[in-house]
């Protein structure tokens, strides 16, 4: 693609020279002049965003410049490529009423691990300005040029993408967007193996994901590192803009305030602004976790759970960002940020939501009785919700946790699953849309603990969560058909990143248990021909005489048993020191490693009859980490053909926005200017 290369030659060499390293001064800013959104940013026509400019003057270190005094007279010009005349100032180009105030601050960072060990930080002084809530309406390429320190320039090429479909003829009324957090293709293969029977190499049934109409792959990397977390990958999916680890719907600046980073409008925000669309959020995590937060929240720090809960109800209160100001459905865990002991400004957020007219549910029973016409909040546990395996198979693990969402110290034993939450969310969104202008809805439903259980190397529970997601997609398709809105609804299922997980053999757990040394225990693993077949689809008491097909108590699409003698030998590529015995942990999710004076070491109470493995990651890491792999995308319904092939995570935003017809070509349709 020589044309693309040509445009950005100046940036390529600059960017790569200083950034192919593990520590960076500031992501996406390889020079001393930073433009956010940076070079190569894509926008939907009319998408609202902030511009942040920074000029850096490192006081010391390899880039020390100008005695640490940043240029305060920097200026940005913008020009649409192909437009006649000179580049105009940002104020003129965007028709802004006033030039924003100059801001100044100082930050520091380590240039590499040697500097960190030596405790020699590099200090950087910054001069900055932020231009808030702007938008570009005309498709095409734009050149934004920051002039600083007299003769230095940073050039950012921005592209406003022409939508493939006329927004007035949009294809879908609703979007049902499933995120299997951390769901890697190899996990789907393993989930199929444990839940679906095969005879002589032929599966007798398949995952719902296997049967979706369209298949694609997406690249998940961050903007400034190749391994993403769930915040910036969700940012890509929700805004069409890649960002930095931990950031939600902002580009990360170097300022100390975690709420002043330049924001980008999300799909939900555009849908609400352009069409008054209804917004639902369902997750099995705490609701302020990165993936659900990314539907509407804006902050460079995903950990700020309490203010994020406030954003679900009030929108952003800083910088008058338009925001959604009240999602229609919010279901998940995370009571700790609703109760006064851990909430924003110490308020009782159950009361705040009730005052705003929300129905509120605390368990599956009350979830089912929520009024479909009212906005709804359902918080079903403190912290993350129970895992499918514990909810359905090892139910004793629900007791003794004192995790009732009411905060009364009882156990949250009647938690709904992803399926129950998602179907109820559809009912509410559908009823509210019908009762209003039939404007449609956007529902994000997250199977959060695929990721959480992979992090703690609890492969069995992770696969249980994946199977629950698959079952939820299957049930949702049926439910949409029953409601008569399947043909109006684009369904997209994807992940936000992977884990380097795979199955490499079968293991005779009896032999492993009986073996005495670590090295002998490894002989229990059968590879290739000795991997055998799936023990999870065979009832413990089955025999050749038993002439019936066994279906587990949890239904046809789940394992018949979770602890066969011949189990899967599975693993991940990134793990702390731990032991492996390949059985389903009986007392709840695994905790593979515990901290010690020498960093994390195997948890003495985990997988006690297993063999020891020394880790592959820094010893300060308690659990496995995300991986690079592309993840799969599945789509059904209007606009779903666009999801075929291989593309960036940001394209999922553009494809969904195109299906909903969210582009706007002038600011007259917008309420924010």
């Amino acid at each position: 693609m020589p044309s693309l290369l040509r445009i950005s030659v100046a940036l390529v060499a600059a960017a790569l020279g200083s950034q192919a390293q593990t520590f960076q001064r500031l992501g996406t800013c390889p020079t001393l002049g930073c433009v956010f959104p940076p070079d190569q940013a894509d926008f939907l026509p009319g998408q609202v965003f902030d511009i942040r400019l920074e000029v850096h003057a490192p006081v010391n270190g390899s880039e020390a410049f100008n005695n640490g005094v940043p240029d305060e007279k920097f200026a940005l010009t913008i020009q649409r490529v192909g437009e006649h005349g000179k580049a105009r100032t940002v104020k003129e180009f965007l028709g802004l009423k006033a030039e924003p105030a100059l801001e100044k601050w100082t930050f520091s960072y380590f240039e590499d691990l040697f500097a960190q060990d030596a405790k020699t930080p590099t200090v950087v002084n910054v001069a900055s300005k932020a231009y808030r809530q702007v938008a570009l309406y005309t498709p095409g390429e734009y050149t934004a040029t920051l002039n600083f320190f007299g003769n230095q320039k940073t050039i950012a090429t921005w592209t406003v993408r022409e939508p493939p479909t006329n927004p007035k003829k949009h294809k879908a009324k609703n979007v049902l967007f499933f995120i299997g957090d951390g769901m890697t293709i190899s996990m789907q293969t393993a989930a199929r193996l444990i839940a679906h029977k095969s005879i002589n190499g032929k599966y007798q049934s398949l995952l719902q994901l296997d049967q979706m109409d369209n298949l694609g792959h997406q690249m998940t990397h961050s903007i400034d590192s190749f391994i993403t977390d769930s915040a910036n990958s969700a940012t890509a999916l929700n805004t069409g803009h890649k960002s930095t680890v931990n950031a939600l719907n902002v580009y990360v600046d170097s300022s100390p305030d975690p709420f002043d980073d330049p924001k980008v409008e999300t799909l939900a925000e555009m849908f609400r602004r352009v069409r008054n669309g209804l917004i639902g959020i369902v997750t099995t995590a705490f609701v302020a976790d990165a993936t659900p937060a990314a539907v509407v929240a804006h902050t460079r720090n995903r950990d700020l759970a309490a203010p994020i809960v406030d954003m679900f109800l009030h929108g952003e209160t800083n910088y008058s960002w338009p925001g959604v100001k009240g999602v229609d459905v919010l279901f998940g865990g995370g009571a700790e940020n609703f109760l006064p002991t851990g909430s924003f400004q110490g308020k009782n957020y159950y009361d705040e939501f009730k005052k705003a007219g929300y129905g509120v549910a605390f368990d599956n029973k009350s979830l089912q009785t929520l009024d479909n016409k009212k906005r709804a909040l359902g918080i079903f546990s403190i912290s993350n919700m129970a895992k499918w395996v514990d909810r359905q198979v090892l139910k004793k693990n629900l007791f003794g946790l004192k995790n009732s969402p009411t905060g009364d110290g009882t156990d949250a034993v009647d938690q709904p699953g992803l399926k129950e939450m998602t179907l109820k969310a559809i009912d509410i969104l559908h009823a509210r849309s019908k009762a209003d202008k039939n404007q449609g809805w956007y529902l994000m439903s997250e199977a959060a603990s695929i990721d959480k259980m992979m992090h703690v190397l609890d492969y069995h529970r992770a696969l249980g969560e994946l199977l629950e997601l698959d079952d939820t997609v299957r049930a949702s398709i049926e439910h949409l058909k029953k409601l008569g809105i399947y043909d109006d609804t684009l369904i997209v299922v994807t992940a936000d990143h992977g884990h380097g997980f795979d199955v490499f053999g079968g293991v005779d757990t009896q032999y492993l248990h009986a073996a005495s040394s670590d090295r002998q225990k490894r002989s229990a693993i059968g590879v290739y021909a000795n991997s055998g077949l799936s023990g999870y689809t065979v009832a413990p008491d089955s025999s050749p005489k038993n002439n019936t097909v066994v279906i587990g108590a949890q239904g046809a699409n789940f394992p018949v048993q979770w602890d066969p003698r011949f189990a899967l030998a599975a693993g991940v590529v990134a793990f702390p020191d731990h032991r492996e015995n390949y059985t389903t942990a009986q007392n709840g999710p695994r905790l593979p490693a515990v901290n010690s004076a020498d960093g994390f070491v195997p948890n003495p109470t985990d997988a006690q009859d297993g063999f020891a493995l020394s880790g592959t990651i820094p010893t300060n890491q308690a659990q496995g980490v995300h991986s690079l792999t592309d993840v799969a995308v599945y789509a059904n319904g209007p606009g779903s053909e666009a999801f075929r092939g291989v593309y960036s995570a940001i394209d999922i935003f553009f494809k969904m926005a195109d299906a909903l017809g969210l582009a706007t070509f002038s600011n007259t349709t917008s309420s924010h200017h």
Copy 2:
């Protein structure tokens, strides 16, 4: 899929009761009466196959029966489902001239690891018959019932698939089938990262695979174990029949003869028989390796390299199997099985091929001068061919190996790459087709050492091989367009299985090298935000002042450097004890582990400055093993839309056969009856 379940209820419980274990009496035969092809086998109409029946009488062990005396009066009946009347005998149903002779033998196996440790094998006496070279021409379901021991039955349901397209209106004239051996989706992501530049999270160029028209996933498992090797996975791709580890285009029986197992006709054999199609085989492995062998060879033991070489020239000499009897192109390594010291019956196979009219080449120079009108043999090294990284970057590693294909003890320094071999093969097949009846060709081109380098944990070389495959696909598309046959040619690219590989971070190799303890070395790894960007796309001497885009000496689609300070932290889930330092091994492919009295331990000369990892597999395993994950399928050209979605490896055979129109509905078009 209740209808499928209903059909096979009897077999499900029986099969799963005894087979979900790491050791089996005989794969696909859970009862004491075995039918091959077994239950659930699929056939193309007219596809030739053998039937093998076995009755087992275990002398001892958990299944001991009838004092170890097998029933010799067993009988098979066949009925087409929906056909009136009683089931007929196999002889009558298939119109065979005579009943085959009864065969008898004995074999033994261990029931599990405890029995193996105790050295208590189970002995099984067998009575058997084989019905050779039969075919089913009418699409539909067939029930084959083996009656044995008086009242026992084994029922196999066979399906002859109705082709979606009328074979007379076939879509493709040629098929170019690429196999990236062991190529996992996560490897493609990693290969993209090291070879293609990105700016602020946006790739400036992509893999050719990323840009193919159609994307699918295939399930790779064996018929009787969930982890496959490259032989039986290639069997699935070439015949539409899954088989057992190590088996090539046969179902594995229990007899001692590795050539008498029941055969199934391959796509190449059908193409030759039905249309006199031209057949080409290209590989970077030794040519008798499993993947190239699977185009035409039939044996339960892939390791029989010398007779496999004979099969490329003469077809099967046992049991008068029709076979191809001389492929048109055969390019790769493996001189050891052509030279009299290691060949079939001690002949010089270069001479044998020459006598049969083949042009013969031993290096890239002579490859390029081969006459395109003649059949061609190119053998370019002893054993597997050189790896791309060594051929293109670390060329010193080509010297001192004494691996000249002529056997003269010199070095094979002028080896062609996959691209050179594939383009020349296309030229020959195209020229020969044009000079004959324009009947078309089938070329299988294998990037074998993606797998071989993953096995030895040499991730860098594996990714080099993957990039060479990608470059070959790109060049082949261009070449087919130049020849004017792109629109006639179905191109399919897939893998035969995965490895549990992924990238989980970046690593500061300078810090790792300098750190003194294993635990401190792990601190060199940066995860998430600290993973950084790809160091492989940055020239060692680049700086922000260097205002040019750097392209590696090997071209735009390869890394600029292979040993950046900030390297990929990558790994696999299945590995022997070894050390990791994340650098490209400078002296040729890695050898991560060596044998000792206590099994395999880290090779003292490998990754000497790395940290130690204890393995995840039995200590008798020298290298990493294959994994379960589904692998990707990419397709362009006529018939390529059929490759979308998720399906079994066997479906790839049926989709290619449909594109070529190879089904035959009566035996009058066939020469073999």
